[in-house]
């Protein structure tokens, strides 16, 4: 019925793009940077006027990935039809190469809680999110990618490991997975999981995109530490290493550098993107050597 996640990824090359934020609007139009695509937050382009006109100009130069942050695919009460319709309208206007959302929830009782909140990993939650992803895909008439979350709490009654939950959403709905390597690293540190085992358990065929970002480390009053996924710094070495491993397993995948707080000059983002591109090239070379041997 819909193009598959793996087909969708071919419309954006297996190279690196950057998250486009308002700070860089002018710079990007003046001198389009050497990156493969631009990803924007769907919610930032729901009105008319200059942001929309700007994005129309940017999409002449770059493929666009629409990344939603507020549809609340994990809500037991279902997705808000009004917000879903706004997402549909943006997607119709922008004709993005990729559309993605999160395995998370942010709406309860009609209130938007303005953060990507964690789901208990249960059969019930799996049913709920699959129902909502099905609905999203039928409204958009295309497949989407769903992103693994970064989390700070787990639920007592969770029964499914997160990587299995992600794979199950993809298998049941036909959607792809947006694999956020930084989120895997952050959640693994926070909950004592093995990040490499997580990556190894994800089904390579449905990985449609990878996200990379920086995070911070917070000391808690009780002496514990928590990794916070704040997208406010460079990607750390441990995350680059996990990314290189992911590329070995998944093959080359479109990759995105995200930076949302203390956004640096554009050339810093482009530099991070080029570092990711170098790792993609290295993984391709390695794969060729292995195949030739």
């Amino acid at each position: 019925m819909f193009p598959t996640g793996t087909q969708a990824r071919h419309s954006i090359p297996a190279k690196t793009g950057i998250g486009l934020r308002f700070q860089h609007h002018e710079a990007v139009l003046e001198m389009p940077p050497a990156v493969a695509f631009m990803e924007v937050h769907t919610e930032n382009y729901m009105g008319g006027g200059s942001p929309s006109r700007y994005l129309d100009a940017v999409r002449c130069d770059f493929p666009i990935s629409l990344h939603g942050v507020g549809l609340s695919l994990g809500s037991a009460e279902g997705v808000d039809p009004v917000h879903l319709d706004r997402v549909r309208q943006v997607a119709e206007r922008i004709e993005p190469a990729l559309v993605s959302e999160h395995v998370a929830w942010s709406v309860s009782g009609g209130t938007y809680l303005a953060d990507l909140l964690p789901l208990p990993m249960t059969e019930e939650a799996l049913d709920v999110i699959c129902r909502n992803v099905d609905h999203l895909q039928s409204v958009l008439e295309r497949t989407v990618l769903v992103e693994n979350p970064s989390t700070y709490v787990q639920f007592r009654h969770s029964t499914i490991p997160e990587w299995e939950f992600m794979a199950a959403v993809a298998a049941r709905t036909g959607c792809g997975i947006l694999c956020d390597i930084n989120n895997i690293f952050v959640s693994s540190k926070n909950h004592g999981w093995d990040a490499y085992a997580y990556v190894a358990k994800l089904p390579p065929a449905v990985i449609g995109e990878i996200h990379l970002a920086g995070h911070s480390v917070r000391e808690l009053p009780d002496g514990g530490t928590l990794r916070i996924d704040d997208h406010g710094s460079r990607v750390i070495d441990d995350v680059w290493s996990l990314y290189a491993e992911a590329l070995r397993r998944f093959g080359p995948v479109p990759t995105l550098i995200e930076w949302d707080t203390d956004v640096p000059p554009l050339d810093v983002l482009v530099g991070e993107a080029h570092h990711a591109d170098a790792l993609i090239s290295a993984a391709k070379d390695e794969a060729r050597r292995v195949n030739a041997a």
């Binding site: 009105g47 008319g48 809500s75 303005a114 007592r156 009654h157």
Partner: protein, 263 residues
């Protein structure tokens, strides 16, 4: 075992500061759960406060960051958003400020917020095509008096007893001299706020201009609007509204077969 609905309700209450205990019961963490929940609560609160700052920049600059944060906190607790489209979050903020005791001394603050709300609506309004004037000309002259217009969503009107347009400009451009020169007792004013190309324009209307605009924008029939205006140049102003694209469509005053005429 808790249902997803129960978990989400408990977590929502925990984030809004209502019910941590219900939440603690479902969480599996060795560390104090509230430490971890506070990460979510802080992100939520700072995202919403930032949205209010972006939507009400002059209010924030006028009262200062700290005062604004206190007001925002109280407002968020009372009117959290219903949707993730935060560009229009804070539609009730002006009315909230009206009743916010710590700001009572700044009598013009709620109207300044109303002006910023109008600016925000103008910025975010859909790109609707203005009314095709050809369709207006094509209707019978005898029917023209019965025309009722639909205003473009980017255009709105605001009346205030204070010179909020001057305050708004002075605050946003950090023009202390202009701020010092503002006379709060200069008298009431009427404003028309709209998006022109990409710029926002805030313009004063005199009393008859305002009466005409108010009547037209509230959907009164053309004859009634011209009458309400009572000025001999009312038709010139009407032509200006039309050429500026202030309307998207019109219909004829309710008759058994009233029809909408689009652009």
């Amino acid at each position: 075992m808790s249902t997803l609905h129960e978990v989400q309700t408990a977590m929502r209450d925990g984030l809004l500061g209502v019910g941590d205990p219900a939440l603690a019961a479902v969480l599996a963490v060795a560390l104090t759960p509230s430490n971890r929940i506070s990460i979510y609560r802080n992100t939520s609160r700072s995202t919403l406060t930032k949205a209010l700052r972006l939507n009400f920049p002059a209010v924030e600059r006028l009262v200062g960051e700290d005062f604004f944060a206190v007001a925002a906190d109280a407002f968020i607790a009372r009117e959290p958003p219903a949707t993730a489209w935060l560009d229009l979050y804070g539609q009730g903020f002006p009315e909230f400020l009206q009743g916010f005791a710590p700001a009572a001394a700044l009598v013009y603050l709620p109207d300044l917020a109303r002006l910023e709300r109008a600016v925000g609506r103008a910025l975010q309004a859909s790109d609707l095509e203005p009314l095709d004037l050809g369709r207006l000309v094509s209707i019978d002259a005898s029917e023209q008096a019965r025309v009722r217009f639909t205003p473009h969503p980017s255009v709105s009107l605001l009346s205030s007893p204070y010179p909020v347009d001057a305050i708004w400009r002075a605050v946003l451009t950090r023009d202390d001299a202009a701020m010092a020169a503002i006379d709060l007792g200069a008298g009431a004013l009427h404003l028309l706020i709209e998006r022109r190309s990409s710029e926002i324009e805030v313009r004063r209307l005199d009393e008859p201009q305002w009466r005409l605009a108010e009547a037209l924008f509230s959907g009164k029939a053309l004859s009634a609007a011209l009458e309400a205006c009572g000025d001999s140049v009312a038709t010139t102003w009407l032509a200006e509204h039309l050429s500026a694209g202030h309307f998207t469509k019109f219909r004829l005053e309710a008759t058994p077969s009233a029809t909408e005429r689009g652009s």
